[in-house]
C-alpha cells in the first residue's frame, strides 16, 4: 500500500497538466489581468493622497494613509507601498510565465493570430506593471523571464534606463501586434491604441525633469515621439469625447468612445471580480448617512481647500466629483471628499464587489497630453493647445480661454482628472512638484502635522520586507 503515499490534491488544480491546450493559455492570460485589479486603489492611495488634492490628515494620525499624505520618512513598511511593489511583480511574474510557456508549448495554439495576440497582451501588461513600478520606485530589478529564487536574489535594482528599455520594447511589440478592436466578448483587452497611449505616456514621463533623483523623469526629450503616437490615436477616429462629463463615469455607459483602456469590474460573480476603488476615498459615515452599509473607506480624507478653491463656480465637474459636507446622526461633517465613482443606486451587497470600470487612458487625457507635448516643444501651435483645452472647458460649462500656458494646462488637468489618481504623476512630470507641494503645505497645514517636503519623496521607499530578504541586495532610495 505504499502507493498510497502518492497523493494528488483533490480540490486544487496542479500545474502538471496545465499549458496543454488553447484554453489553458487563455486562462493564464486572464490571470495576468487579475493583477490589474488593485491598480485604481493604488493610484488613489499613492498619487491622489500624496498630492495637494487631498489634505488627508487623519484623526490621531493613525491611518495608513497618514504617512503617505504627510510625508513621513517611515513609510517603508506602509502596506500601500509594499503592495505597489508586490502586486506589480506578481503581474510581471504571471506575464513572464505565459510568455515562457508560449515559447515552449505555444504550438498547441493553432490560431496563429491568437497566439501573437496573447504574446502582445502579456507584453503590454508586463510593461504596464513595470511602468507603475518605475513611477513609484525608480530603479527596480528587471526580470523578463520566470526566474528561480536564487536568480532573483542575485539581481539588484536595475538602472531606470534599463527598466524603460524593457517597457518600451514591450509596448512597441504590443503596438505592432495588438488588434485595433475586439469583439464584444473581449472588450477590455488592450488595443493597439492602448499600447500607443501607454507608450506616449512613457515617453512623456521619461522627458520629465530629473530632480537629481533616479527616475521616473530622465530628462529625455521625447515629446515628439509621444505626439506622433497621440496623433495616431486621435486620427484613428475611433474615439471621441462624451457629451457630458458625468456620462464618462456612468455605470450604464461603460466602454464608451472616450475609453481607450480601462480596468474592468463586474459585480455578483464568484470569485469576486468587482472593485473597491469607488469607496477608497469615501468616509464610512457618509454611506451610513445615505442608509447604506459601511464600505471600508474608514474616516474622511478631506479634499484640500486648495483644490476646492481651484474650481470655477460654474464648473459642472465639481459637484459630480466632490461631496461637500453631510450630517450623520446629528453630527455635522463640514469637510469635503471625492465621491466620483459612487452611484448610490449601485451599491453592491458585497462591499468589495463594485461593478464600475476604472478608466486608465481616456480620450480627454490623450488630448491634454497632446497639448502638453506641444507646449513642451513638439510640433503644433498655441491654437491647437487652446482648442483642446477649450473643448474640455466647454464640456465642463466654462468659458473658452486663450494662450494656455503649461501652468494653466496643469490646472486644467487637475480639475478634469481630479480623483482619477493622476495628480502626483502630473506634478512630477510637469517639473513643479518641488515648488507646488512646499507652498501648498505652508498654506494649508495649519495644524502643522505634515513633515517638510524633500525631492527624494518623489519616489517611494523600497518596501522594508524587500530590503530584509537579503541584506545589501537592494539599496534603499535616498531620503528614507
Amino acid at each position: 500500500c505504499t502507493s498510497d503515499l502518492t497523493q494528488i490534491p483533490i480540490s486544487q488544480a496542479t500545474t502538471a497538466t496545465f499549458y496543454t491546450q488553447t484554453n489553458d493559455f487563455l486562462q493564464a492570460s486572464n490571470a495576468i489581468y487579475n493583477d490589474l485589479r488593485g491598480y485604481p486603489d493604488r493610484q488613489l492611495n499613492l498619487s491622489e493622497t500624496r498630492s495637494d488634492n487631498l489634505y488627508a490628515v487623519s484623526d490621531g494620525g493613525v491611518r495608513d494613509w497618514e504617512g503617505i499624505n504627510s510625508f513621513h520618512k517611515t513609510i517603508a513598511s506602509n502596506p500601500y507601498v509594499s503592495d505597489a511593489w508586490s502586486a506589480n511583480y506578481n503581474g510581471v511574474y504571471r506575464a513572464n510565465v505565459l510568455l515562457d510557456q508560449l515559447a515552449k508549448n505555444g504550438k498547441v495554439i493553432t490560431d496563429q493570430s491568437l497566439k501573437t495576440r496573447l504574446e502582445a497582451e502579456a507584453k503590454f501588461l508586463r510593461a504596464f506593471f513595470y511602468f507603475d513600478l518605475v513611477r513609484w520606485f525608480g530603479k527596480v530589478p528587471v526580470i523578463d523571464k520566470p526566474a528561480t529564487a536564487n536568480e532573483v536574489l542575485s539581481i539588484p535594482r536595475s538602472p531606470v534606463e534599463d527598466v524603460y528599455k524593457l517597457i518600451i520594447s514591450d509596448l512597441q511589440f504590443a503596438n505592432t501586434n495588438l488588434p485595433e478592436t475586439y469583439a464584444a466578448a473581449d472588450k477590455g483587452r488592450p488595443t493597439k491604441f492602448a499600447a500607443k497611449a501607454a507608450l506616449a505616456l512613457v515617453y512623456m514621463t521619461r522627458s520629465g525633469k530629473t530632480y537629481d533623483i533616479e527616475g521616473p523623469g530622465v530628462g529625455a526629450n521625447e515629446w515628439g515621439n509621444a505626439l506622433t503616437l497621440l496623433n495616431e490615436i486621435i486620427a484613428s477616429g475611433k474615439f471621441s469625447l462624451q457629451s457630458s462629463y458625468t456620462s464618462v463615469f456612468s455605470y450604464t455607459n461603460e466602454n464608451s468612445a472616450e475609453v481607450i483602456f480601462d480596468i474592468q469590474y463586474q459585480t455578483g460573480l464568484s470569485p469576486v471580480v468587482g472593485g473597491t476603488f469607488p469607496w477608497v476615498l469615501v468616509p464610512d459615515t457618509w454611506f451610513q448617512s445615505q442608509g447604506k452599509a459601511v464600505q471600508g473607506g474608514l474616516t474622511i480624507r478631506p479634499v484640500s481647500t486648495d483644490l476646492l478653491n481651484a474650481y470655477d463656480a460654474k464648473d459642472t465637474r465639481k459637484a459630480f466629483t466632490i461631496q461637500s459636507g453631510y450630517v450623520y446622526n446629528g453630527v455635522a461633517e463640514t469637510r469635503s471628499f471625492f465621491k466620483k465613482y459612487v452611484d448610490l443606486t449601485k451599491v453592491p451587497t458585497n462591499r468589495v464587489d463594485w461593478p464600475i470600470n476604472f478608466i486608465v487612458f481616456r480620450y480627454a487625457d490623450m488630448l491634454m497630453l497632446k497639448a502638453e507635448c506641444i507646449l513642451r516643444g513638439a510640433s503644433g501651435t498655441q491654437a491647437d493647445v487652446d482648442a483642446i483645452v477649450n473643448q474640455l472647458r466647454t464640456r465642463a460649462g466654462l468659458a473658452a480661454t486663450t494662450n494656455v500656458t503649461l501652468t494653466q494646462l496643469l490646472k486644467e488637468r487637475r480639475l478634469e482628472f481630479a480623483a482619477e489618481g493622476s495628480r502626483w504623476h502630473d506634478l512630477v512630470r510637469f517639473g513643479v512638484v518641488d515648488t507646488v507641494i512646499p507652498a501648498w503645505i505652508t498654506a494649508e497645514d495649519v495644524q502643522k502635522v505634515m513633515q517638510p517636503f524633500q525631492k527624494n519623496y518623489i519616489l517611494y521607499p523600497v518596501p522594508q520586507t524587500e530590503l530584509d530578504v537579503k541584506q545589501g541586495l537592494y539599496v534603499q532610495n535616498a531620503g528614507y
Binding site: 497523493q7 500545474t15 490571470a31 493613525v62 511583480y89 463586474q266 460573480l269 447604506k292
Partner: protein
C-alpha cells in the same frame, strides 16, 4: 487472602500471577483468590496492584499464601505506558512525565488538558481562551518549530490521533485532538518528553507525545461509580478601564484640545453654543469633534446613562456534570462503561456548552491465547458562542465601548430602532449582539479502537489494531439585521442586512497498526523485550461551507433557506503516513538498562525523493541503587542515572505542499467572468522532514524510605531543516516559499519532586515541578540573520534573529514623557511629536525616532515554569491546593494597543492608566502615559509590552470521606468536596484579561503564525460542590 499493610483490610482486584507463566487470578471483594499452579514447588507468586509495591512470594508447597501489600506512593514497580507497550517505571530510561489521573474525578475537570496544568515539569499547558469547550495549547520543552506547529502528538489507548496545530489566531479550526474526550474516563497520562522516549512515534514526535490511557475493568464484582458536581463559574478578573466619569473627563479634555488646535483664536473656554456659531452650524446640529455634550457637565447628567459594559455582559453561570460508570469483569470479560453529561453556562451571557459522552472499553479473553477488545467513545457537544473573543469581536468591543450612552437606549445603543449616541463609538451594542447573534457549533465525535492480541508462543505476541476517529462538525452562524449596520442603514435595508452561514467538516483518521512483541527473561538476569511493527495512517478532511448573500427574506427564520442568495463550496484533502518501527529493551538484573528504537516514516506530504525519514534513538540507564555498594547506604531507596539521544520529526504542513498548484485569479471582460489560472506559489518538490535531535541526561532518586523522590533532567534539543517559509524577494512574484531551512535550539532543565512531609494522622504530601527552557534561533535560510515577522497591525513587532529567542519582541522603547526641555535639547522625536507626547529611545542615535530604533525587549515564552501541589489528609478530610506560575516571558498585547494607543480617539473607552496621564507641564501624571490629545500617530513601542509572569492558585479542593458515615453493603465509598478554581492569582498583564490568551492572528501571514491577544476572556473562576459515590 491479600490485605493492605496499612490497616489489614482486604484488597480486591489484586493480580496474582505465577511468575514466568500466564497463570493468574484476581482477588475478590474479600481479598481472596485461588490459583492452580504448575510445578508448585518452584513457583513464585507475584502480587501486584496499582498503588502498592509488588510482592513476590515463593510458594514452597504452601497451599495458603497470604500477602500483605505495602502502599507505594512513588511506586517504582508502577507499570507505565510507553509507545506500543508498557514498561516498569523503574526500567524507563527516557524522560517521561507521568500524571496519575485517578484523582481527576475528585476535581471538577471538564477537559483533559485542563487537568494537566501545572502538573508536569517541562509541559507547558496554556489556557489560551476563557471560552467554553476550547482546546488548550500544550508545549513540551519549548517551541522548536517556526511554522510547522508545536503541539504534541496525542495517543489514546494506543491510537495516535491526527496532530493539530492552531491556526494563526491560536484556534484549532478543525478541532483539537482532546475535544470531547471525557476526562473522567482517563486512568493515566504519560508525556514522553525526550526523543528517546518519543522517537518510536517518529515523524510526529518532535513536540513530544502525550499517551492517554482510559479506565479498564478489573476482575471482580461490578463497581459502580457516580460522580456529580454542580456550581457556578464567573470571570476571575475585570479589566481596569476608565469609568464613565473618567471617560467624560478625557473626552472633554480632548475635544477642547482639538477645538483649540483647529484654528487661530479658538479657546477652551468657548461654550458649545459659541463654537456652534463659529462653525456656522444650524441650531440642533453639533460637531462632536469640537463640541462636548452639555449634559456631561450637568448634575446627574440628565438623559444619559453611565454604564460599565463589563458588568452588563459578565455573569455567574451554572456548571454541572454528572457521570455514572460501571466496571468489573471475570476471567472472560473485563468491561468499563460510562456515561457523562455536562452543561456549562459561560461567564458571558448567552454562551453555553453542553456535552454528552459515553465510553465502553471491553476486553474479551476468547481463549488462553487470544484477546479481543473494543474501545468505543461516542460524544456529542453543542457550543453556543456568538463570537466573543478576538479582534473586533464582542469582548473587544465591550471593553472599548463608550461608557456614556443615551438613557433611552438602555444597554442597546445602535440596536434595532435605536440609533447611536453622538459621542459614542459606532458598533452595535455588545449586549445586543450577545443576545441576538447565533454562533452554534455541534460536534459529533466517535473514537473507536478494536484490537486482537494473539499469543503465538509464550512471550511472543502479535497484536493488530484498527482505529477510527470520526468527527462531524457543523457550525451555524446568524446575525440579524437588528444588530448589523447603523440605524439609517437598518431603516433603509432591513433584512437585507441579515447574514448567516452554515459550515461543516468531517474529519476522519484511520489507523491500522500491527506489532509483534517478544519478552523473555534469560538466565533470570537478562530481561529482553523486542518490538517490531508497521502502521498505516490516513487522515482525511472534507469540508463544506454555505453563506448567505444579499441578506434574508425573513426576520424570523435563521436557516439559509430564507436567504436571498447563497454561496457555497466544498473541499477535501487527504494524507497518508506509512511506518515501520522496532525497539529493543534490555535490562541486566534490573541494574543496567538499555533501550533503542528506530522508526521509518513515509508521508504523502513530501515529494518522491524526500518522502521517507528515519528516526533512531537510544537510551541507557544505570540503577545505581541496585549495586552492592549502594545497599550499604540504606537512606537511598532508589537511584537511577539516565542518558538518552534520539531524533524525531515534524511533518505538520499542508497536505500538498510539495505539489505546484494553480490558483484561480479571475477577471471580467465586458461584464462576463473570465476564468484565470496561474501558479499559486513557488513549491519545493524536495521538501523534507523537519528534524529534531535531543540529548537528555537525568536521574531519578528516592530517599528516606521513599519519603522524598525526585527526577531531574537536562536536555538539549536541536531542530534542524525547519519547515520554514523562507522570505522571497517580491520580484519573484511571491513573498515566501516553504523550504527546509534554519534551526532552533531549546535547552533546559526540569525537576520533579515528591515528598511525604508527614505520615502520621495528618498526611501531608507535596509534589513540585519546576522547569527552565530557553530557545534561540541558530540559523535561518541562506545567510539571513533575521526575519521580521509581518504584522497585520502596522510595522513588525517581532523578529526571528539568530541568537535570540523565537518571535522576540522587537519594538521602540518608551522612556518617559517629552518635556519642553527635551524638545529644546533636540531629543529624538517620532514625526510631529510635541511636549507631553511619549519620549522614545533613539537606539541608533540618528536623532529621529523611527522603525530603525526598534530593539529586542522580550521573549514570548516564559523562562521558568512551576507548579506545586500540596495534599493534606486528616481523618476523613482531604485538602489539595495547586499553585502554578511562570516567569520571564513577555506579552506584546494588541488589545492593550487597541485600548491604550497614542492618538486614540476619545470615543473609545481607554485603559485605566489614562487616569494618571500627562495633562500639562505642571500636572505630568505618573510619567508613563502621555497627553490624551496627541496627533503624531503611533509606533510599535513598549507601551503595550507586559510581563507574562503570573502566580495562580489554580485549584483548592476540600473533600470529606463519608465512607465511615455510610458504611453499608452497597456503598463502598463516598466523598463530598468543594472546589475553588482560579480564585486567587497575580499577574502583571494590565492590557488584557489573561496573560496566556491567544485569539487573533497578529502576523496576518500563514508563514509566521503569531497568535496573540486581541480580546481574550479571563480565566473562569468557579466554585463547585461535588459528590463521588462508589457502589
Amino acid at each position: 487472602v491479600v490485605t493492605t499493610s496499612e490497616n489489614g483490610e482486604p484488597l480486591p482486584g489484586v493480580n496474582v500471577v505465577q511468575k514466568g507463566s500466564s497463570t493468574g487470578a484476581v482477588t475478590d471483594a474479600k481479598g481472596a483468590y485461588t490459583l492452580k499452579l504448575n510445578n508448585a514447588g518452584n513457583a513464585v507468586l507475584t502480587f501486584s496492584f496499582i498503588g502498592y509495591v509488588t510482592q513476590e512470594i515463593p510458594v514452597k508447597n504452601q497451599s495458603v499464601i497470604n500477602s500483605k501489600l505495602e502502599p507505594d506512593t512513588k511506586s517504582l514497580s508502577e507499570v507505565v505506558v510507553i509507545g506500543y507497550g508498557t514498561a516498569k517505571k523503574a526500567d524507563v530510561t527516557g524522560a517521561v512525565a507521568s500524571f496519575n489521573a485517578k484523582t481527576i474525578d475528585q476535581r471538577p475537570i471538564l477537559r483533559v488538558d485542563q487537568a494537566l496544568v501545572g502538573q508536569m515539569a517541562g509541559v507547558q499547558v496554556k489556557q489560551t481562551s476563557g471560552a467554553l469547550g476550547k482546546g488548550f495549547s500544550i508545549q513540551v520543552r519549548g517551541t522548536g518549530s517556526i511554522t510547522a506547529g508545536n503541539e504534541p502528538l496525542y495517543v489514546i489507548d494506543g491510537f495516535p490521533l491526527a496532530t493539530a496545530r492552531p491556526n494563526g489566531s491560536g484556534n484549532f479550526a478543525t478541532g483539537n485532538p482532546l475535544d470531547n474526550i471525557n476526562p473522567n474516563d482517563i486512568e493515566s497520562i504519560q508525556v514522553l518528553k525526550d526523543a528517546a522516549a518519543a522517537a518510536i512515534y517518529g515523524s510526529r514526535a518532535a513536540n513530544g507525545v502525550v499517551l492517554i490511557t482510559t479506565k479498564r475493568g478489573q476482575s471482580g464484582r461490578p463497581k459502580v461509580t457516580l460522580n456529580t458536581f454542580t456550581g457556578y463559574m464567573e470571570r476571575s478578573r475585570k479589566l481596569d478601564m476608565l469609568s464613565a466619569d473618567e471617560w467624560v473627563d478625557r473626552a472633554t479634555e480632548m475635544i477642547n484640545a482639538q477645538w483649540v488646535a483647529s484654528a487661530p483664536n479658538r479657546t477652551a473656554s468657548q461654550t458649545n453654543e459659541q463654537r456652534r456659531v463659529i462653525l456656522g452650524l444650524p441650531v440642533g446640529q453639533v460637531n462632536t469633534t469640537y463640541m462636548t455634550d452639555d449634559r456631561w457637565a450637568q448634575p446627574g447628567h440628565p438623559g444619559l446613562r453611565y454604564l460599565d459594559w463589563q458588568d452588563e455582559a459578565f455573569r455567574k453561570g451554572l456548571t454541572q456534570n454528572h457521570q455514572l460508570s460501571a466496571s468489573g469483569g471475570n476471567e472472560f470479560v473485563k468491561y468499563y462503561v460510562s456515561g457523562n453529561y455536562v452543561r456549562q453556562e459561560g461567564m458571558v451571557i448567552n454562551t453555553d456548552y453542553t456535552a454528552y459522552s459515553a465510553r465502553a472499553n471491553v476486553e474479551v479473553n476468547a481463549s488462553k491465547k487470544l484477546k479481543l477488545g473494543l474501545n468505543i467513545a461516542p460524544t456529542y457537544s453543542v457550543n453556543n458562542d456568538p463570537g466573543v473573543e478576538g479582534k473586533d469581536n464582542i469582548l473587544h468591543q465591550m471593553v472599548s465601548f463608550t461608557p456614556v450612552q443615551e438613557d433611552t437606549m438602555g444597554v442597546y445603543p445602535n440596536v434595532g430602532n435605536n440609533g447611536q449616541y453622538r459621542w459614542s463609538v459606532s458598533p452595535n451594542s455588545p449586549i445586543g449582539k450577545l443576545q441576538n447573534t447565533i454562533g452554534e457549533t455541534k460536534r459529533f465525535r466517535t473514537l473507536t479502537s478494536t484490537y486482537a492480541d494473539y499469543q503465538i508462543i509464550p512471550g511472543l505476541n502479535f497484536r493488530t489494531t484498527i482505529n477510527l476517529d470520526n468527527t462531524d462538525n457543523a457550525s451555524k452562524s446568524y446575525t440579524p439585521y437588528s444588530v448589523a449596520g447603523s440605524y439609517q442603514t437598518r431603516l433603509a435595508q432591513l433584512t437585507t442586512l441579515t447574514s448567516g452561514s452554515f459550515s461543516t467538516y468531517r474529519k476522519r483518521t484511520f489507523v491500522n497498526e500491527n506489532t509483534l512483541t517478544y519478552g523473555k527473561v534469560f538466565a533470570e538476569k537478562h530481561d529482553v523485550t523486542l518490538l517490531a511493527g508497521l502502521s498505516y495512517n490516513s487522515d482525511k478532511i472534507e469540508s463544506a461551507s454555505l453563506s448567505s448573500n444579499g441578506g434574508y427574506s425573513s426576520n424570523a427564520i435563521t436557516t439559509l433557506n430564507a436567504a436571498n442568495g447563497v454561496t457555497g463550496n466544498t473541499s477535501e484533502a487527504r494524507n497518508v503516513l506509512i511506518s515501520y518501527f522496532g525497539r529493543v529493551q534490555y535490562s541486566y538484573a534490573s541494574k543496567y538498562l538499555l533501550s533503542a528504537s528506530i522508526r521509518r516514516d513515509g508521508s504523502s506530504r513530501f515529494g518522491a525523493n524526500t518522502r521517507w525519514g528515519v528516526f533512531p534513538s537510544a537510551s541507557v540507564g544505570w540503577r545505581v541503587s541496585e549495586e552492592a555498594f549502594m545497599k550499604a547506604i540504606p537512606v537511598v531507596n532508589d537511584l537511577k542515572l539516565r542518558a538518552s539521544w534520539g531524533t524525531s520529526g515534524n511533518y505538520n504542513i499542508g497536505d500538498y505542499s510539495t505539489i505546484p498548484t494553480l490558483g484561480t485569479y479571475n477577471y471580467t471582460f465586458n461584464g462576463v467572468a473570465a476564468v484565470g489560472q496561474a501558479p499559486a506559489g513557488v513549491t519545493n518538490p524536495d521538501l523534507g522532514w523537519e528534524n529534531s535531535r535531543t540529548f537528555d541526561v537525568g536521574f531519578d532518586v528516592s530517599v528516606l524510605n521513599n519519603r522524598i523522590s525526585a527526577a531531574f533532567d537536562v536536555y538539549n534539543k536541536l531542530n534542524t531543516n525547519l519547515l520554514l517559509n523562507v522570505p522571497l524577494p517580491g520580484a519573484t512574484g511571491f513573498a515566501s516559499y516553504l523550504s527546509n531551512a534554519g534551526s532552533v535550539r531549546n535547552t533546559g532543565w526540569e525537576i520533579e519532586l515528591n515528598t511525604r512531609n508527614t505520615t502520621g494522622a495528618l498526611k501531608w504530601n507535596t509534589s513540585l515541578n519546576f522547569s527552565h527552557n530557553a530557545n534561540k534561533v541558530v540559523a535561518l535560510a541562506g545567510g539571513q540573520d533575521q526575519i521580521l515577522i509581518p504584522s497585520s497591525f502596522d510595522i513588525s513587532h517581532s523578529i526571528l534573529k539568530i541568537g535570540q529567542p523565537l518571535y522576540s519582541i522587537y519594538v521602540v522603547k518608551q522612556i518617559g514623557i517629552l518635556s519642553q526641555q527635551d524638545i529644546d535639547n533636540k531629543a529624538a522625536l517620532y514625526g510631529s511629536e510635541t511636549v507631553g507626547d511619549p519620549k522614545y529611545f533613539d537606539a541608533n542615535g540618528d536623532g529621529v525616532i523611527d522603525a530603525n530604533d526598534r530593539v529586542i525587549v522580550g521573549r514570548p515564552t516564559p523562562k521558568y515554569m512551576w507548579g506545586i501541589t500540596n495534599t493534606l489528609r486528616y481523618k476523613g478530610f482531604d485538602l489539595t491546593v495547586l499553585v502554578q506560575g511562570q516567569n520571564g516571558g513577555s506579552i506584546y498585547s494588541l488589545l492593550g494597543r487597541a485600548l491604550g494607543r497614542t492618538g486614540q480617539g476619545f470615543t473609545d473607552n481607554a485603559l485605566g492608566f489614562y487616569r494618571d496621564r500627562w495633562r500639562s507641564p505642571s500636572d505630568p501624571g505618573a510619567g508613563v502615559v502621555g497627553k490624551a490629545y496627541s496627533t503624531f500617530g503611533r509606533i510599535k513601542n513598549t507601551d503595550w509590552l507586559y510581563s507574562s509572569d503570573y502566580v495562580r492558585v489554580r485549584n483548592i479542593t476540600l473533600g470529606y470521606d463519608l465512607g465511615s458515615l455510610m458504611k453499608t453493603k452497597f456503598v463502598q465509598g463516598a466523598r463530598i468536596y468543594v472546589t475553588a478554581e482560579n480564585f486567587f492569582g497575580f499577574d502583571k498583564y494590565k492590557g488584557g484579561f489573561n496573560p496566556e490568551a491567544s485569539n487573533t492572528d497578529l502576523s496576518g501571514s500563514s508563514s509566521y503564525p503569531e497568535p496573540g491577544d486581541y480580546g481574550g476572556l479571563p480565566l473562569p473562576r468557579s466554585l463547585v460542590f461535588g459528590l463521588n459515590v462508589t457502589f
